[in-house]
Symmetry: C2
Subunit: 422 residues, 2 copies
């Protein structure tokens, strides 16, 4: 058992990462899971499907880290060159692994119900110098190599396959092999204050922090998440100490605090609704279902969420939300009058206690001099009270949609917080 801070590198392999066709979500997930068991990810590297580049990355990351996790390059097609390369790199030869062979047969006969091809059987071949890590969710197994006191773990790049191998094989094995430190984080979310102003307020607090506790600013969607992290070997002491600093931080930021956990805004809204046994619904025009998607991505959201009407046309706004035709004609779809009417219609038809309505011009087309691209009207409220907000965003379509959703959820949260107090 080794007692020190264990560091890891993540190597992702695939040309698609280097031409930007694929966004790498695997590394972030792996980093979170490694962090939880006290392994610090020091570097993440992406290289193409190129033997020299992969070898150079293996050599180099072994200098930086004790554990090297590799994903990608293990599929059944000709552009996957990783397995034979790893075999040669670790000085082994390829042999058929019977367990993997049986598993592949089983997947093809009972799950995929397709005939097996030779190239699928090839996936049962593994270097004789590795420990095979079974892949219950796919055909390419993981492989665990050890060389010069370094551990190299190769996994397929398909996210849910990689996750299964990490969860059931890699993480337990790493926990057995190392005596790992505790890494603790506490995160809170603020709104309505810029990064620089936060930093001004926190000058004294930051200088009071011991060296092993770090404060990070993570701005996103006009809000700032603050994260305190601490690393050490005495779990109780570390947690107690971090907790005390986190308490001070919350007190200093009391007036701008949204939530003192690392959860998304939509979950904060969901929790307060469930706690008060209330429900909500949304009427989205410009946000186009994105608020609904955020909320319904939370398991159990059917408890508090009635649904959304995305009314992209005048017709839909009139039919589903009772927006009067003259309101649309007179004030236009992007107006205070229209979002108010949308919200009223939504609350009436859905029977929800609270609601959000959005309408705006997300770009790149559709702007006018009076209502430029980025103009958004949001209404939030209940059957008895409503408030409206007009925002002007200056970004691209994607970001305008995301910002609309984040702001609308924040307005609703603040509305509900006040409402349930009365």
């Amino acid at each position: 058992m080794i007692q020190h801070v264990v560091s890891a590198s993540i190597i992702t392999i695939g040309d698609e990462l280097l031409i930007g066709q694929t966004i790498d979500t695997n590394s972030a997930w792996m980093a979170v899971e490694l962090n939880k068991i006290g392994i610090r990810v020091k570097r993440r590297v992406a290289v193409g499907d190129d033997a020299d580049a992969i070898k150079a990355a293996l050599d180099q990351e072994a200098v930086h880290s004790e554990i090297i996790l590799i994903t990608g390059g293990l599929g059944p097609t000709a552009d996957d060159i990783t397995k034979p390369l790893l075999c040669a790199y670790f000085g082994g030869k390829m042999i058929v692994n019977d367990d993997v062979l049986q598993h592949i047969h089983q997947i093809f006969t009972s799950v995929l119900k397709r005939p097996l091809l030779d190239r699928n059987l090839k996936q049962a071949e593994v270097p004789d110098v590795c420990t095979v890590l079974p892949n219950p969710r796919g055909t390419a197994p993981g492989m665990w190599f050890e060389k010069n006191e370094r551990i190299f773990i190769s996994m397929p790049g398909v996210p849910h396959e990689m996750k299964g191998i990490m969860e059931f094989q890699v993480l337990p094995k790493l926990r057995d092999q190392f005596q790992l430190p505790v890494i603790a984080h506490r995160t809170l979310l603020t709104a309505g204050i810029g990064e620089s102003f936060l930093a001004e307020r926190l000058i004294d607090f930051e200088s009071s922090l011991p060296v092993h506790i770090k404060l990070a600013y993570l701005p996103n969607y006009g809000m700032v998440r603050l994260r305190l992290s601490s690393l050490g070997f005495e779990k109780d002491v570390l947690i107690r100490e971090l907790e005390s600093y986190f308490q001070s931080l919350q007190e200093i930021l009391n007036d701008v605090l949204v939530v003192n956990e690392d959860i998304p805004l939509e979950e904060v809204v969901g929790r307060i609704l469930v706690r008060h046994q209330k429900t909500m619904a949304t009427a989205e025009s410009c946000s186009g279902g994105y608020i609904a998607h955020l909320i319904t991505s939370i398991s159990g959201s059917s408890e508090f969420y009635k649904g959304t009407v995305v009314a992209y046309s005048y017709d839909a706004k009139e039919t589903f939300l009772d927006v009067p035709h003259h309101t649309l004609e007179h004030s236009g779809a992007v107006s205070e009058q229209t979002v108010t009417a949308m919200l009223k219609g939504l609350l009436k038809h859905s029977g929800a206690d609270y609601g959000i309505a959005t309408s705006g011009i997300m770009g790149p087309g559709g702007g006018t001099s009076e209502k430029p691209v980025g103009t958004v009207w949001v209404a939030v409220g209940s059957g008895t009270a409503m408030e409206t907000h007009c925002i002007r965003f200056r970004h691209d379509r994607k970001r305008n949609i995301e910002l609309t959703a984040a702001n609308a959820l924040l307005y609703l949260l603040r509305f509900i917080e006040r409402d349930v107090k009365n």
Copy 2:
């Protein structure tokens, strides 16, 4: 002017990348843009807010690549250490840049309308050994350094700020400085055939490819994208040759081809609708607005998309979509009868020509032995014809939602393709 293949490395800086709090979308975007002008991204590396780690990355990437692009670590807070480090690394001293100073003043007085803090003014300080790259969308400027025939470009990590600097400064300057080759890609999307079967079909095709043309398999959501890439200096020859191979590829895969461009499925659906002046709408239960979000992320989607009703409760299904109460009681929300009724109600109320209805159990909770987690019913159709599909997914909530959307869009596309032929 240098004529050879120019390679780049991307270094992203930030602890949040290594603990997985942030997914790196910047690198993928940068890779796409660099690729377009003929620069090949060779490696992408992420390191934490740690001086030694950043220095090691700068040293190392300079060995691999001629151009090193750096994002992150330039904010106004104490965890941003990159600028002084770069200054020291390139042997300069910090000086105030008047243009940047004026720009910061302007942003604070006319856009943010907030008082300026000292730490904001600090952002006007730059190393005297760099060329300043103006940042019209934020306060931290980009910086261009040259050392030992390597170019180092540092930019803020906020995506829309980085994109502005890349587009208006970095890409034009790189194009001036190098004689860049042509990198060409052609991509097509297939459905209904697994990666291994595709590879079997393409054995002869793959072996006929010259060395400078590569074929890559990019499986996602049960479909496989195939990409042919070619690199060279004679643009016309290269494009003509690639086009001819791409033509053969399409012929071989004619029966499983969805689209012969690198566009998402929702855009393929949108195009066929616009071409035939038809419209669509969606009624989403289990997909929770995700289909609407995909469609409304396309600029101009209001031309063919009427909107969605996300009916998460029995109530909402009855009120907004006329699903008969006895259907829900008798068959349950996740049933062929319910999705059929949802689709009928949707088409009636929305006036759309085509529609999609989804209902399923996305997990982790809510499954029964008869209807396990992952059971999804999808109906697609028009006022005159409908078809239903039952699918069983085996993944997590997020992936089940994404797969439902992808499959539903594909069913609708196939339906429309047949319908417009008649």
